[in-house]
Symmetry: C2
Subunit: 211 residues, 2 copies
DNA sequence: ACCGAACCGTAACGTACGGTACGGCGACGT
DNA sequence: ACGTCGCCGTACCGTACGTTACGGTTCGGT
């Protein structure tokens, strides 16, 4: 039951907070948002509720910190911007799409999005900023570099990204959120999405629908 | 306060149940899922809690019936299958996309999806069946007829639909669910989505990425 | 006029949860 | 050695909600 250990590793209280946040994530995934009570967190984390409130203020603070903590773990490495030929572009785009698909399909992401949607006023903005918009800001430089290299053609990088987002995600996220557990081949889906995206925006082929 | 009227219209108890369900929807949209208590529903619907429990069993039964009730209201008309030329296909697809975008952007749909996601085990399947899968089954015949008419080319109608779904919806639903209120031009988005879909699957142009 | 069914309004009950208070205990500095 | 600090475990409090029960009222049928 004790998942933390009484500070035996000598990591001080540094890792304790994060251990608590991991307990929140684990409970969220295993039991769902309804079972996420302060008592359950305290018991699972082998800490007292008093400590929980001292560290995180209240329940909402605990949830907020958990969302940020998970977001900080998901950040994928930035992609190399050198030697951007057609192959490198394709590889980077597929990496983005496959990683994104893997993340939004994971139980942790689904559970976190569920609770954020349930409290859209307070948590929705955080998840949105660290999810949808964060990946947009990380992908746009790649798209702009690709355009500068004459590999793709578009007017608005935001619109191009939204199309990429749609082609990659399709119905995956909403189905997962609504409880549909179906198999996903992230690599194959990423390849298909990139094929379709380049068919629409690629400059080497017929530049259809660039506006 | 009384939104129903004491059966004065002589509609018997036929419309009373539906009136209660509309109250649930209104409360969901106005106050959010957290404020949806049985007491609030009873007060707003000018009925007693005892009646609520007699009619719907328990809180979950009330929610389930509400989801079904809303789903029955959203059904759009089937599209004409005659004279399927390129123009008619485009028009039908745009109609589908625009209607779908309007629905998923509506406050009612967002509120209902939020609560369904929060209770994915019990309500998620219902929303999924009446939303994502229902529109899929309604769109596929159109796609198959279009393929038979030589207007589009694809191997798997399900995959073609999922692409259409992604091109139309993109990030709209997840952003709305997470509380992002941004303007949407359903007609323009539908036009763009259909343009892109036909660029990928249209048989008149280069049939790229059909597999 | 009378009966019974359905329903309204409200009170009541049990439970569960967020948040707080308290006693005890091990660790650490002096 | 000893006081202090932080934390654990638990008990506790107030509240809110789901659910049930009950008295009073309306209304259709006979």
């Amino acid at each position: 039951m004790n998942e933390i250990g009484l500070d035996s590793a000598g990591e001080g209280t540094a890792g304790r907070r994060e251990a608590v946040l991991d307990v929140v994530l684990a409970l969220l995934v295993e039991k769902g948002a309804a079972a996420l009570t302060m008592t359950a967190v305290a018991r699972r984390a082998s800490c007292s509720k008093e400590t929980l409130y001292k560290w995180f203020g209240d329940r909402e603070g605990l949830l907020t910190e958990t969302v940020r903590w998970q977001a900080s773990k998901v950040r994928a490495g930035a992609y190399d911007r050198q030697h951007l030929d057609a192959g490198a572009l394709r590889e980077s785009l597929e990496g983005f799409a496959a990683n994104w698909l893997t993340v939004i399909s994971s139980e942790t992401s689904v559970a976190l999005n569920r609770i954020a949607i349930g409290q859209a006023e307070t948590l929705g903005g955080i998840v949105l900023a660290n999810g949808r918009f964060a990946i947009g800001e990380r992908l746009k430089p790649l798209l702009l570099d690709a355009r500068a290299a004459g590999l793709v053609a578009f007017d608005d990088a935001e619109e191009a990204f939204r199309t990429f987002f749609g082609l990659a995600g399709r119905d995956v996220q909403i189905r997962r959120l609504l409880g549909d557990r179906f198999a996903i081949d992230a690599a194959a889906d990423a390849r298909r999405a990139v094929d379709q995206f380049l068919a629409l925006y690629g400059a080497t082929k017929t530049p259809a629908m660039a506006g």
